[in-house]
Amino acid sequence: MELFNRLKKPLPNRLRVTLLFYFPLICLIGVVIANDPQVLENFIKIQLSPAILLTDYLEIGGVAATLLNVGMIALMNILLFYHLKLPYTGLMFAAFFTIFGFSFLGMTLVNLIPIYLGGLLYSRYAKIKFRSIIMLSVFAGTLGPVVSHLIFGYGFTGIFAWTLGISMGIVLGFFVIPIARHLLKFHDGFNLYNIGFASGIIGIIFVSVMKSLGYPTERVVLLYQSHNSIILALTLISCLYLMTVGYFAEEELIKKWKLILPVSGRAISDFTEPAGFGATLFNMGVVGLMSTALVLILGGIVNGFTMAAIFTIIGFGAFGKHPKNIWPIFAGAILSSMLLGLPLNSTTTLGSILFATTLVPIAGVYGPGWGIVAGFLHVFVVRQVGDFHGGLNLYNNGFAGGLVAGVLIIIIQTLKGGEK
């Protein structure tokens, strides 16, 4: 109870970051419960996989090894945030939970570290502190499959493959930052997963070059197709944990949470500022539960792909997403999936519906009607564009979302007389 009473008071920034230690801890507990005697062997199998979309680590390495990968990546990032003395912000939560989710689906220690090194080099080159761009480097982990595929997927071998993969990771980690910043203008901040948009374009160029050199990039579908109680429990308990900490950290929780609901979600919508720390955590838990409930109601499986989607939504529950701007996107995406005759319980359909929430700013700024249109269009686009970058960009929905947002906001603004 003493801890809860302390939580009622404003927490110093550095102590707030320590609250994230729960996540590697629960992964460790999951590893112990899963009790896989071959956990280390499977963990190495994950690290050595080409990591291309859709490689669900639950499928290739099992529950324990996947949770070990997720927990280690989470711990590495928390220590990095702590070392850089980062203040807690909505963007930090968004970055942390995105990478937490995608550690089930394509991110490994092997493919992330070169990208971070590229970001570090960029900060030295641009004469800015690494802490100013670390969030972008974290998001840039979306290009992890480029590193892994060069080392393990294209047929290169030995030291040459490792040198090539690591070098390319550093180069991409360096350039993705200015490229992403520039491409932000294309959709004017209406696509929350902007690094995914930038990385999609980078991926197209990379895949084209490789194909021209005689190295085509083949996409894979390796999805875990069983219900697993450990994974489902991890998701639900994580949402409840966030809501509970939020409850004890905020005196007037619901009143503060209501300050979040009118916010459009367009960048920059950092909920920690209007509503405070507690209400932001509470909102993250709420949108996480909403997303998990949607998966279960539609009869889907909580696997690596849906975990990536759910935890990304949880993260952006601090930086743009709330129930009021999410529901129109869900509605539009479900509608188009039904129109296309897609099975709503399939993992890929559910992923498209959940990740379509990258477009919540459209619902937030222009109303639920346009939000439904955005979600509706997103499903059509995301089903086609993955092949363009060969699955080397993990945030394929961020790429599709950027295309949809960039065109749709011009249509909306034209119809609303924006040119007058």
């Binding site: 203040p87 502190k129 969030m135």
Partner: protein
């Protein structure tokens, strides 16, 4: 240095767009760089902006500076004049003050260059 100057120009652009959309009238801007600190002073003449609106703007503009956000999102400035863009400005400046003076609205910002 070049990026620093472009960021200052973007802040000025965003605030000018916002004030002109609020009140299409004489608008003057003074930018004074002194060492690492830059001061902005906007004067929008004959402005009928209510006090509540000014208070709302100042609340948004006085959000804590966030270098992590500034590095990435400053490129969004300068086109929309929307409230959300003011939030980006708020993350890029250290202080914002505003008052009414002879029927004009006067906004004064300071921004220190930080690595």
């Amino acid at each position: 240095m070049r990026t620093h100057v472009k960021r200052i120009a973007s802040i000025a652009d965003e605030i000018m767009t916002f004030l002109l959309l609020e009140n299409f009238s004489t608008l003057s801007l003074t930018i004074v760089p002194e060492g690492k600190v830059t001061t902005f002073r906007f004067v929008s003449e004959n402005c009928s902006m209510p006090q509540e609106k000014l208070d709302e703007i100042l609340e948004v503009l006085n959000q804590p500076r966030q270098i992590e956000l500034e590095t990435y999102y400053w490129s969004l400035l300068g086109e929309s004049g929307a409230d959300m863009s003011l939030s980006v400005v708020g993350r890029m400046i250290d202080s914002a003050h505003g008052h009414f003076e002879n029927g004009s609205v006067v906004l004064t910002f300071t921004r220190e260059e930080i690595e």
